[in-house]
């Protein structure tokens, strides 16, 4: 077996593209919070990146991709990256050999961005020590098993559920985790009493640009090939994003609001989330529908969250959680064998639809429940939330001793 240089080159480049998504989330979230918390919000994403970078190499990769234990998790056979080297290896479900270590690094940047998305649920009130503990436990006990279920030879893949680039693993898991955490730690002081407005919208737009850009690597790189499938994934990723952006804008505009820039980019992210599991399985026309439905759906869910007085502050649940759930179901509906070898509901394959729904709802329940338990334990012991005074002064000063 020889390393395929084309596939290797593209996965190397894709890894760098996906890396920028974690600071992209930091910029996106940092701009959405008030001025006194910008540095903290941005820093949480860098912290997520650093924490998972170490955890992944020591045992995270092995839990996700090591030898299967009961379909649930990998064992520690690859802990410390033992048995993984520079030589060629073929990733399950793909055909071109790339260096084993490259796949480790490619998967590492997915795990980091998932954790960065979770920080939405802690926005403007996260206690740093509690967050670090929660982050390590979450990535180990929630992310790693989910990655194993889908990509590491776990039960979800065995059932036939398909997830091209991690709609279930990255987006459902992080979105529902953010919701669970927000429920445990409670609303920000003043939420619902006075308006809490974004501190820096241009920063949000820059973050969204980096996310859209990085997503090309996220989805297209997941082909683990430099071929037609990778190209198709790239194209549908873009059309879904565009469709989501336009639909969110139009729906919010007709709903009596203004066509806000935040609406446009939120819609783009919703479209990107929804196309993630479907990127290697659907046609461009289907991707326009998938992205558009995501734009309208996530907007509606966001309004529902606000109406219910839920302070899942930066809408990871509405956009990533619910957008990811829609994407997983949509993959079961729109998959077409001429693209990625699988047919979905509209091409007469009910089985695929059922398998995808099962995989997605299991991930929803697992991510929500386990995160809820982890957050409760940490919140009751060392605490996940800063004191009232620290929150009032702002986390930049109280947690980092810095200001913008």
């Amino acid at each position: 077996m020889v390393i395929d240089s084309g596939a290797t080159a593209w996965v190397l480049a894709s890894t760098a593209l996906v890396m920028i998504m974690t600071p992209g989330v930091g910029l996106f979230y940092g701009g959405l919070v008030r001025k006194k918390n910008v540095i903290n919000m941005f820093a949480l994403s860098f912290l997520a990146f650093a924490l998972v970078s170490i955890q992944w190499v020591i045992f995270g990769y092995s839990l996700a991709f090591g030898q299967d234990v009961g379909g649930f998790i990998g064992n520690l056979s690859n802990a410390g990256l033992s048995l993984i080297g520079m030589g060629p290896a073929v990733v399950a479900g793909t055909e071109y050999p790339i260096p084993g270590l490259l796949y480790v690094m490619f998967q590492l940047v997915f795990a980091t961005v998932a954790l960065a998305i979770v920080t939405s649920g802690l926005a403007e009130r996260a206690k740093l020590s509690g967050f670090i503990l929660l982050a390590l436990l979450w990535t180990t006990l929630v992310y790693d098993p989910l990655a194993h279920w889908v990509w590491g030879g776990g039960w979800s893949a065995a059932l036939g559920s398909i997830d091209f680039a991690g709609g279930t693993v990255v987006h459902i898991s992080s979105g529902f985790a953010a919701l669970a955490i927000a429920l445990v730690i409670g609303k920000r002081a003043g939420f619902g009493e006075h308006s809490i407005e974004p501190g820096n919208i241009p920063m949000v737009l820059l973050g969204a640009a980096l996310l859209w850009f990085g997503w090309f690597g996220f989805n297209s790189g997941s082909a683990i090939a430099a071929n037609g499938l990778a190209s198709s994934a790239l194209l549908v990723t873009n059309t879904a994003a565009a469709s989501g952006a336009l639909v969110w804008m139009v729906v919010s505009w007709m709903h009596g609001g203004k066509p806000s820039s935040l609406g446009i980019v939120s819609g783009a992210i919703a479209g990107l989330v929804a196309i993630t599991p479907a990127a290697g399985y659907v046609t461009p026309i289907s991707s326009i529908i998938i992205g558009g439905v995501a734009g309208a759906l996530c907007y509606t869910i966001m309004l529902f969250r606000i109406r219910k007085g839920l302070d899942e502050s930066l809408d990871a649940w509405a956009v990533h959680g619910m957008g990811g759930l829609w994407g997983a179901i949509a993959t079961g509906i729109f998959a077409y064998s001429a693209v990625g070898g699988k047919d979905g509901l509209i091409h007469g394959n009910v089985q695929q639809f059922i398998a995808n729904c099962a995989g997605a709802f299991a991930a929803v329940i697992y991510a929500f429940v386990v995160t809820l338990i982890l957050a409760l334990i940490i919140h009751k012991t060392i605490g996940l939330r800063v004191s009232e005074d620290e929150e009032y002064v702002g986390l930049d000063l109280s947690q980092h001793g810095e200001r913008v």
């Binding site: 006194k36 005074d389 002064v393 109280s398």
Partner: protein, 109 residues
């Protein structure tokens, strides 16, 4: 005429503005300021020691009103800005010597 200079918590600004609007007080100049009062800022306690954030962000509202309106406006601001916690702010009332409209040169009384 009086100049009312109110320094309040930023999160109460919208409520104060709404309350003034409802009572037909529209003109105002608003500045983001920082300051401290008797409390000398906020002291955060850590295991390793303390950290004092001595200047807290506030909103300053300047409003010029007739003498007869002055008490009413002060009361409106007090009611809307009060949270009952330390740091709710201060209101100063100053005499105004002259007030001139720039566009017309008209002297307002």
């Amino acid at each position: 005429m009086k100049l009312i200079k109110a320094i309040i918590k930023p999160e109460r600004f919208e409520k104060v503005k709404k309350s003034l609007e409802d009572n037909n007080i529209f003109g105002m100049t608003v500045t983001e300021v920082k300051g401290r009062g008797d409390q000398k800022g906020i002291t955060l306690q850590y295991r390793g020691g303390t950290m004092v954030v001595d200047l807290i962000p506030k909103i300053e509202i300047d409003i010029v009103v007739t003498d007869s309106e002055s008490d009413k406006v002060v009361n409106l601001i007090c009611e809307a800005a009060r949270t009952g916690k330390i740091g709710d702010g201060r209101i100063f009332v100053l005499p105004v010597e002259r007030s001139i409209k720039v566009r017309t040169g008209e002297e307002l009384i």
